[in-house]
């Protein structure tokens, strides 16, 4: 089932792309992987954008959420009502992981597809002939196209990079990509930062993912076939571009919203905790400011006391 639904379609798609694309440094399989990466990224784009926006929105709301949690810790029903008022849905933070989870079958499928296509043993190559769809067999002259060349620059695509260049690139690009997905925070001393992370587990998780993910994938790229590491790197580079654009567009939206609207809702929460506008720096990256007391309107202070 897994093979029929995930691995075989990927294998056939890659084989088809490999056959129609021109070569790069004598190897069109790398070009096929690149195009395949772009296709996968396009397919998962709506989900990724949603996750990115949701993640940033959740981060922005955290001060308000914490204030509500603190205020209504003994009254969960009221807490829920207040969450609704500010448009906060706790389960949304969990759905933020969805694109990541959806990528796993893709990753595993692609891993198997690359290994299968490179057919690095007679048995692997024989099994590949079993997986090829008849119409692909007709479109591609499979018997002459196989086995796929395994050399690209200094790499054997079926083997890990012996010079560790790809694992370093996987780490670097994934780190930047994760960094762009994470709202920037000011430097804080250790205790303060830890306390903040304890108060705000979402931020804590995002922070730890920012380092854990790149380290983990960089580490495991030491034993991944080079072809898969190339997929990771290309995917991360596209993710970096996507992250940068999303941040810019969100910052613009925010700026437009702030310029044109008054903050609409009153929740009975101290105003200091409620307002946390994002500002856009010269590089288009957002930062979050603690609002100054003097900027809080009298009307809001009154409603807060009430």
């Amino acid at each position: 089932m897994w093979d029929a639904l995930v691995i075989d379609p990927m294998t056939n798609a890659l084989l088809f792309l490999y056959n129609i694309l021109p070569g790069l440094a004598g190897n069109s399989f790398v070009v096929a992987i690149a195009l395949f990466t772009i296709l996968i990224r396009l397919i998962t784009l709506p989900l990724n954008l949603r996750q990115q926006k949701s993640s940033m929105k959740m981060q922005e709301m955290q001060p308000q959420v914490q204030a509500i949690q603190k205020k209504y810790k003994d009254n969960p029903q009221k807490m829920q009502e207040e969450f609704k008022k500010i448009g906060y849905n706790p389960t949304e933070s969990l759905t933020g992981c969805l694109p990541l989870l959806i990528q796993f079958p893709i990753l595993i499928g692609l891993y198997r597809a690359i290994i299968t296509l490179l057919g690095s043993t007679p048995q692997a190559l024989f099994e590949l002939t079993d997986r090829i769809y008849p119409f692909i067999d007709e479109l591609v002259n499979v018997s002459e196209a196989l086995p796929i060349p395994n050399k690209f620059l200094w790499l054997n695509l079926a083997q890990p990079d012996p010079f560790y260049v790809l694992p370093v690139l996987v780490f670097g690009t994934m780190f930047i990509s994760q960094k762009l997905l994470t709202p920037s925070t000011k430097k804080e001393d250790g205790d303060k930062k830890k306390k903040k992370q304890d108060d705000n587990p979402m931020a804590g998780m995002t922070q730890s993912m920012q380092y854990t993910m790149p380290l983990m994938f960089g580490f495991f790229s030491l034993s991944f076939p080079s072809g898969l590491s190339i997929y990771f790197i290309l995917s991360n580079v596209i993710g970096i571009g996507q992250g940068y654009l999303t941040r810019s567009s969100m910052a613009k939206e925010k700026a437009a919203q702030e310029a044109g609207e008054e903050i609409p809702k009153t929740t009975g929460i101290p105003a200091e905790a409620k307002v946390q506008p994002a500002t856009s720096g010269a590089d288009g990256r957002s930062s979050y400011k603690q609002p100054a007391k003097k900027k809080t309107s009298k009307r809001k202070r009154r409603s807060a006391k009430r």
Binding site: F83, S143, T212, L222
Partner: protein, 393 residues
């Protein structure tokens, strides 16, 4: 309920690690496997490379002589390339060992064993500096050297006294070498998956000629007179001039020709991947007969005493795990089927003729390595031997 501390953070991180670990666990070269590699030796002994070791089986005595597993390997090494046996020395390569959990390097070794008919063969030498990818091809032993083709595209020459490299530089092809090289008059002929056949100077490793045959050559070459025959993935068998590499003739099949052809008495026999058997004239390539005999044939064709033997891997409509193999005997003159024998597992390994028997090696996804020994004078008489390759302890 809304404090998303432990419930979110750790499960996600654990999940990521688990998936990455599963991915990486399949990433090292040692995880790959293949079908057995088998070679016939003297005195009724066959040598089979499969999984963690090489096993020697005395068919006359119906007993296992020995199994060789490198002591340091701790069962992590894999052997599938057919060993080469000549002048009392058995030479074979492994599939490589990962350099460690955080290392990208792979160590591949070639071994030479001696005292093959004793209970404990002696390791004459091993060489671990010549390849970064598997040894899939059967090595070729010459008088003073061993020629080894590697899956990382190299051909190397090692001294058969101590295993040191002889050529100044190894020869590099454009893709892996899976087929057994052959030699004639100081020239080595090497098939490659890069769609070329190469002729190399046995002394220096320098290229004499290369000939493009339009498709990968995954099995050994066959030689007769001034011609070399190569089965190719381009659905043809090519006859090349031994001196120049020029194409003399080609014979068309209906699918890729994976297994090597066989030569006997002025005729070349071959079977394509779809199981169509052909006999063509060795000098001109004209068709003598053709016949569909099986499905899925990757083993080399074997011809002996007027009979062509085809080892088939089973019906393509049946799931791989449930496929059964078939050994088919055809008349070399007419292609008429003489007999066929069903096997419990697919046959991928080229059978060997040893004395009055034909031996097939097979394994399925769950079962052990099994040898079936069939009496050529009466195919209904056969017996099974299950070698013990794994370390039971």
């Amino acid at each position: 309920m809304y404090k998303l501390k432990m419930p979110v953070k750790w499960p996600v991180i654990i999940l990521l690690f688990t998936v990455a670990f599963i991915l990486s666990a399949c990433g090292t070269s040692v995880a790959n496997s293949n079908w057995p590699g088998m070679t016939a030796g003297e005195n009724g002994v066959v040598y089979v490379a499969f999984g963690p070791g090489i096993v020697a089986v005395d068919l006359n005595e119906e007993k296992q002589l020995w199994v060789y597993r490198p002591q340091e390997s701790n069962n992590s090494l894999q052997f599938y390339a057919a060993p080469s046996v000549d002048r009392g020395q058995l030479v074979f390569g492994d599939y490589g060992a990962s350099g460690g959990f955080i290392s990208a390097s792979v160590t591949v070794s070639v071994y030479a064993l001696e005292e093959l008919l004793s209970q404990n063969p002696v390791l004459a030498w091993s060489q671990s500096q010549i390849a970064q990818d598997r040894i899939i091809a059967q090595p070729l032993q010459l008088e003073d050297r061993v020629i080894v083709g590697t899956a990382d595209n190299f051909v190397v020459a090692l001294a058969n006294q101590d295993g040191r490299p002889i050529w100044n530089d190894p020869f590099e092809a454009g893709h892996s070498i899976w087929g057994h090289p052959i030699e004639d008059d100081g020239v080595i002929f090497v098939p490659s998956l890069d769609k070329n056949v190469y002729a190399l100077d046995a002394e220096t490793g320098e290229e004499i000629w290369q000939s493009n045959v339009g498709g990968s050559v995954s099995d050994k070459l066959v030689m007769n007179g001034d011609l070399i025959y190569a089965g190719s993935f381009d659905k043809q068998v090519h006859a090349l001039d031994k001196a120049t590499g020029a194409s003399r003739w080609t014979a068309l099949a209906q699918a890729a020709v994976w297994g090597a052809p066989a030569y006997a008495d002025g005729v070349v026999y071959f079977v394509d991947l779809d199981g169509n058997a052909f006999a063509v004239g060795a000098e001109t390539g004209e068709l003598r007969w053709e016949r569909p005999v099986a499905e899925y044939v990757v083993a080399a064709t074997v011809v002996d005493d007027g009979v062509v033997y085809v080892a088939a891997a089973g019906d393509s409509d049946i799931a791989p795990a449930e496929r059964q193999g078939t050994l088919i005997a055809l008349s070399a003159d007419t292609g008429e089927e003489l007999w066929q024998k069903q096997m419990p597992s697919p046959l991928f390994t080229t059978p060997v003729i040893i004395e009055d028997s034909i031996v097939v090696a097979m394994q399925n996804e769950t079962g052990p390595l099994t040898l079936e020994i069939i009496d050529l004078s009466d195919p209904d008489r056969s017996w099974t031997f299950v070698p013990q390759v794994e370390d039971e302890s």
